[in-house]
Amino acid sequence: MEKILSQEKLREWVDALDDCEVYAPAFADSVWNFARVKAGADIDLSHTNTIGSVKEFAFPQREVFFCFEKKDGVPVLTPTLPDPKPTVVFGVRPCDGRGMPRNDTVFNKEFEDPYYWARRNKLTLVGLACNQPHSPNCFCQSVGGSPHAEEGLDILMTDLGDRFHVKGVTAKGVEAMERGRDAFDAVSDADQAEVEKVHATSRSHSQRPLGNLDAIAEAIRESFDSPLWADMAQHCIGCGICTFLCPTCHCFDINDEVINPTTGEGERVRTWDNCQFPDFTMHTSGHNPRGDLGSRLRQRVSHKFLYFVENHKTQQCTGCGRCITECPVGIDIIAVLERVGQS
């Protein structure tokens, strides 16, 4: 389904989704991030990219698995499977959209994660094509994506200035469009021509190249023991920015959090974890197989451009560039891959 939506009628469509929780990018605290939209009039799609990725809607930083307590001396477990309202997220950039099928694979391939899917199944992702890159660190096209890629999105919107072209990509997306059907107009031949032109122009902007991704995977495989990793991680501070902001990083930790030590009441909780933290691979013996920052940088890069490819036949990076832009010391995954490729 393809439709035209005027800028003014965007709010009408959003208001028609009143039984859903609607999120969209908002500029607050000097940064774009997803925020709850209470009324269609609040929506502002002039964003660059959000600091947090869309993964957190299916894989929140904190997920309670179950509650536990002691009743008459007997431990009682209460499951807490999430049951969220249908959630529609606007303004999802195509790089983040492409991240979601990669996360779906992780949470589905060997084991269907009920917590992830309880949220994911209720999620409708409304993408917004990037008419031009937001930052010099955007590289979606270098990892097989595009500024108007539909993969992972339920709807793709394209900004045509005074109006949007809106394409329902999945049945879920078409259904969300049906809900606001009065807001939409038919697509004319001129509209169609313009969308194609905008998309073609968006692809023509230069992005940093990565070269042959198969060759990169091979180069990483051969560089496992290379001193390059330690050199490239020389200024790494070992924080979690790169992985927490990444649309495809999905590692987690599970802990029991005691609420009341007397009654034994508490929760088993899943939280995001991070291969850049020293305790990520810490063994109970005290031995740490990835005891230095070089081996942790190698893990992050290898997972995205080698291991994930071996396991799932695609890169686990969609070129959003957050890890480059937000790194406090300028560690640049493209520069890293270039150096590994040249070694």
Partner: protein, 346 residues
């Protein structure tokens, strides 16, 4: 004006003569318009050094890293390290010396005067550009910061005081007091704002509003620990907020591991993140030298500097103490003077 060629020449000289094993400085990076840290080993590398208001990092962090590496190395390289340091950065080195983290002869401080200007705050720049990226940031030599906006290539000039880091606006010592050499003119800070201006402004708000504000920020915290990781004073090998709150060795018993105390859960929620940030702030009282790195690196822009300058202000008002200003002085928490206020002891 600082002549960067002089810094390059000096750094190259140190390396050539073998007086240092490396020089920590700034170079242009591929990731952004802001400079990135570099470690020079060869004198010929010195040509890559840069100096301008995009040299944000406090490189003293890497002196700490070097010390930690030496501690675990079987053949530690104990030669001194050269470091390019702004006024604030030199105070960090001062605190590390006061705390005996290393010795004065272990470091060659290549001081650079900010000449009353300072560095640009990427957060303020982002606010000006509504999240868009700057592809070039330069100082116009007077009162303006020239910015090229990525994408459409727009060039704008922003008044310096609108995008300089808060600490630079309130700077009390733009010239490194601890140094082996200083480049640039020794000028007074411009005094855009009085010392502790931001902290004093924040104090004007009612306690309820302040708490609501901090709850809002703690709630947004991702617990990426970048603020701790970037802080040269957060050098503890074990941290109360980590899942492993003590150093596990082969000799650590199963019981010790099982009975470890978790002071702070991993959940990034308001209460746990408040515990983390307030604990960190308290541990930096009398030690924080206001380099503002914690606030700069925060990906969600939590105004962390306010927490630390508040305590810095207390230390100054109660004990006339300024961290890192005088390395001969005993550190605040390990000294007592008869005239110290003691009204809080009941």
């Amino acid at each position: 004006m600082v002549n960067v060629e002089e810094i390059r020449g000096y750094a190259a000289g140190l390396l050539e003569k073998g007086e240092v094993k490396s020089v920590l400085g700034f170079r242009r990076g591929s990731a952004s318009a802001f400079a990135e840290p570099c470690t020079l080993i060869e004198a010929s590398d010195a040509a890559s050094l840069v100096w301008d208001p995009t040299c944000l990092n406090n490189l003293a962090l890497y002196l700490v890293k070097d010390r930690k590496q030496q501690a675990v190395s079987k053949t530690p390289d104990t030669r001194p390290v050269g470091i390019v340091a702004k006024g604030c950065d030199s105070r960090a080195i001062g605190v590390l010396l006061q705390e005996n983290y290393f010795k004065r002869e272990d470091v060659v401080v290549i001081g650079v005067s900010c000449e009353g200007t300072g560095v640009v705050d990427p957060r303020k720049l982002s606010a000006k550009l509504k999240g868009r990226t700057a592809s070039r940031v330069t100082f116009d030599g007077a009162d303006g910061i020239n910015v090229s906006v990525y994408g459409d290539g727009t060039e704008t000039v922003i008044p310096a005081r609108e995008v300089l880091a808060d600490r630079c606006l309130e700077c009390r010592a733009a010239t490194p007091t601890l140094n082996d050499v200083v480049f640039g003119e020794t000028v007074e800070a411009r005094g855009y704002n009085e010392p502790f201006h931001a902290a004093k402004e924040a104090e004007k708000v009612s306690e309820d509003e302040r708490w609501a504000n901090w709850e809002h920020h703690f709630d947004r915290c991702l617990r990426c620990f970048a603020c701790r990781a970037v802080c040269p004073m957060c050098y503890c090998p074990e941290c109360v907020v980590d899942s492993t709150t003590f150093v596990v060795t082969l000799g650590t018993s199963a019981e010790e591991k099982a009975n470890r105390i978790r002071w702070c859960e991993r959940s990034a929620n308001t209460s746990e993140s408040a515990v983390y940030h307030l604990t960190r702030a308290i541990h930096l009282a009398g030690r924080c030298i206001d380099c503002g790195e914690c606030e700069r690196v925060c990906p969600v822009n939590i105004p962390l500097r306010l927490l630390n300058t508040k305590l810095e202000k207390e230390a100054f008002e109660m004990f006339e103490y300024q961290a890192g200003h005088d390395i001969e002085q005993a550190s605040l928490l390990s000294s007592f003077r008869d005239e110290d206020p003691n009204s809080f002891i009941r």
